[in-house]
């Protein structure tokens, strides 16, 4: 690879994509469980507390998606710089969305 290589390795790209998706899912799940008591109760019934279930779910989702993406060619089709933007964008968007949700909720 040259210093200007625009792509990431397959595993790296796959887990970058998995991290971006997991971060977005975490935000949606946080808002959804606050809006839906049945969902919150269901999550609490799995690990004893909805927050514990959410944390376990996000970590497992990240690992599973990373492994699944690394078996496919999906992440390889996305340029490295675009994956960087995707991950940074999803993180910033999720952070702002979570803060905004709790300001309004």
């Amino acid at each position: 690879m040259s210093a200007g290589t625009p792509t990431l390795g397959r595993t790296n790209a796959s887990f970058a994509l998995a991290a971006a998706v997991s971060i977005l899912v975490n935000t949606v799940l946080a808002c959804a469980k606050d809006a839906s008591k049945p969902l919150k109760d269901f999550m609490a019934s799995i690990c004893g507390h909805d927050w514990t279930t959410q944390g376990m779910f996000v970590v497992i989702l990240f690992v599973l998606l990373g492994l699944i993406f690394s078996k496919t060619s999906l992440s390889g089709k996305i340029a490295g710089t675009r994956l960087v933007s995707l991950l940074v964008g999803s993180t910033v968007l999720s952070g702002v969305a979570l803060f905004g949700w709790y300001v309004l909720y």
């Binding site: 210093a3 998995a18 991290a19 340029a79 490295g80 709790y102």
Partner: protein, 162 residues
Amino acid sequence: MNIASSDIVLLAHASFGVLGTLTALWVFVEALNANPENANRIRTAAVIAAVFMVMAWILGGDWYLHFYPADKALILKGPWPFAHNLVMETKEHLFFLTLTLSLYLPIAAREKLFASAAARRMVLCVAMLIVLSGLGMEGFGAIVSHGAKVALLSNAAKGANE
């Protein structure tokens, strides 16, 4: 001196969070000058950052589930209820962003950063996001702690006036 186990858990949680943040900053600085000589150091630091953040998660989770409900009740009755309603609620869910990024950092750092501009940029961005969100977590924790303090002071002031 009476230091309860809940105090140790809480302080250890915050300490591991700070250590994870500082280690991510270490990764960022090393990645700025990525070369074959510091490649292994970057990978090691990235793993250490992930381990510290997982420790912060486990200890913070233990404290949040077993000890925080008493603080929460106090904060909600005090003059700063937003310390829970806004700050703690945001913090406890925002942390999973930091955790996910911290778990990804060692994977991103496995590449030869000195040979790949994209991989180097990814590590720089992820490490900086961990640093910024980690600092945010520390600040949020301070606000939650102050929310409990002003509630206690308010109760003490009421008691003194009666």
